[in-house]
């Protein structure tokens, strides 16, 4: 109960405090929630179903490019474009997932295939002039709330906060649903789960669909917030890792893990970047080190560690 009260308090503080924060802290907070959101989306497939995607950038990029192209070419608001992007990414995820699961790719093989799909999309985007090729696309920055463009950072903060809350709610629901139990059964032992009557492929595909849809919405948020996208940013491995890392560090397969992970990781990276100006790479280097240390000493992530402490 104490934990729940604490979570509610933290949630209220996240709603009430930001208007009074200096711009820099607001930006950091947006960054934290953005990676928490990506982590939550990744976690549904990677954490609950145990299918370690190394290529979630594919969905992120589809989301970012779909809404931006619909805006630039057809004048469609990104608020609607993001749904189109989400659906397209879901379709792509189901295609990718169907092929992988149909041919029984497990463990590292699945990771490699997802990585390859994301890289294929990156290469195609780099070579397609109609989508801006390697120069990328600039999102019009004239303030218009209906077109998902705001004058200052605060509205973006509330958008990503709502998205994160929705992703949390979905995760919470899934975790306690039949689907959630099926996913965990598949993760722990796929053959045993199937023997017990679980439709493993169906469960994994459902997790893939939700995960891809949510990740694509994150892509649209990125495009609107930074007003610029290019193939390397959106389809590159950095985004795939950006979603996977908070989930792993916080605790894969737990509801709050990705959020906790991002609240720990993102400030670390922001602080190193601020402290070591002009030394590009120091923050990612630290990420690598944190990943090694977490796997070595907290293989269940921070949530697993907290649980073990509470149990003892």
């Amino acid at each position: 109960m104490a934990v729940r009260a604490l979570a509610v308090l933290a949630g209220l503080a996240l709603l009430a405090v930001p208007p009074f924060l200096p711009k820099y802290f607001l930006e950091v907070l947006i960054s934290i929630l953005f990676f928490a959101y990506l982590g939550l989306a990744w976690n549904l497939l990677g954490g609950y179903a145990g299918q370690f995607s190394f290529g979630h950038a594919a969905f992120f990029g589809i989301g970012a490019y779909t809404s931006t192209l619909l805006l630039l070419r057809a004048g469609l608001s990104p608020w609607l474009g993001m749904l189109a992007g989400g659906l397209l990414a879901t379709g792509f995820g189901l295609f990718e997932g169907y092929l992988s699961f149909r041919y029984g790719l497990r463990g590292p093989y699945f990771s490699l295939v997802t990585l390859a799909f994301a890289e294929m999309l990156r290469v195609v985007t780099v070579n397609l002039k109609v989508v801006g090729a390697s120069l990328g696309l600039v999102v019009p920055s004239q303030t218009n709330a209906l077109l998902f463009v705001f004058a200052d950072k605060l509205p973006y903060y509330y958008v990503i906060a709502v998205m994160t809350a929705v992703a949390l709610a979905i995760t919470h629901r899934v975790a306690r649903s039949r689907l959630g139990y099926c996913l965990v059964a598949v993760r722990e032992n796929e053959d045993a789960a199937e023997a017990a009557g679980v439709d493993a492929r169906g469960a994994k595909l459902r997790a893939m669909a939700i995960s891809a849809f949510l990740t694509a919405l994150g892509g649209t948020f990125y495009a609107q917030y930074f007003a610029y996208i290019d193939p390397t940013i959106t389809f590159g491995p950095a985004i795939s890792i950006g979603g996977l890392l908070p989930a792993i560090v916080g605790g894969a397969g737990t509801v709050l893990g990705p959020v906790l992970g991002s609240f720990v990781l993102t400030p670390i990276s922001e602080i190193t970047r601020a402290m070591l100006r002009g030394r590009a790479g120091a923050d990612i280097m630290l990420y690598g080190l944190v990943l090694i240390l977490v796997i070595s000493f907290l293989p269940q992530g921070l949530m697993g560690w907290l649980r073990a402490r509470r149990a003892s």
Partner: protein
Amino acid sequence: MSGSLFLQAVVSGLLLGGVYGLVASGLTLIFGVLRIINFAHGAVMMLGMYATYWLWMLVGLDPYLSVLVTAPVFFGVGVAIQRIVIEPNRDAAEHNQLLLTLGLALFLENLALVLWQGDFRTLRVPYASASFFIADTLVEVPRLIAAGGAVVIAVALYAFLRGTVLGKAIRALAEEREGAMLVGIDVGRIRAVAFGIGSACVAVAGALITPFFYIAPDVGESFNIMAFVVVVLGGMGNFLGALVGGLIVGLAESLGAAFLPGSLKQFVVFLIFVLVLLFRPEGLFGGARGR
């Protein structure tokens, strides 16, 4: 399509493929013995290239001679990585071991970025542009040496695995861990040796290409992904498969570059990768267990 263009693409593809073969041999050896897909393999290659670069810049050591230094040094680096990072997590879940090497790759790559910045460096040797013609096909000497050297090393390694006691112990461990333990093979030591040899292979491959390839912190990434493709193609843990797979991927890439616009050649390579993973995950030559 023009015949000479085709021939030219085949020659450069085979030369590139030889290097891929050596990179992939190291990866497949590590996979065969440790059952780990090593995401840090390309990062070790990058470090090998920087080592070669600095040996040339500071001491004036020729990149080909520097192999005599980089091979033993990176054998040590590999042993250290496996002892310090991998071995303590030997019983961790498969995906966690994957993440471990991913973390290591992020760490090493960005360490290089912090130390030497992101600028592309090139190592200007006097013979960099030496070349000759066979019929009307251009053969660049540094590329020929790199491919030839890579194949010679890979074949020597194959002979070592076949013919020596240590090599046989490595193969035994790849084949059947418990059986290897039962006959008294020191599993921890062999795993470290395998990781060391794999790392030395990829560092040497890096050294061999420095006369004609740029050096940058992320240079290993594309080789790493290419090596995954090659290893899967040849069958995970299949040593000769890695060599043949390297040649196939090199050919596919260079034919793709000759006949497709832009950088779509990479698309061809990934397409092959996905198709092989889906339809023949045991590799083109079957039998994935450490041959």
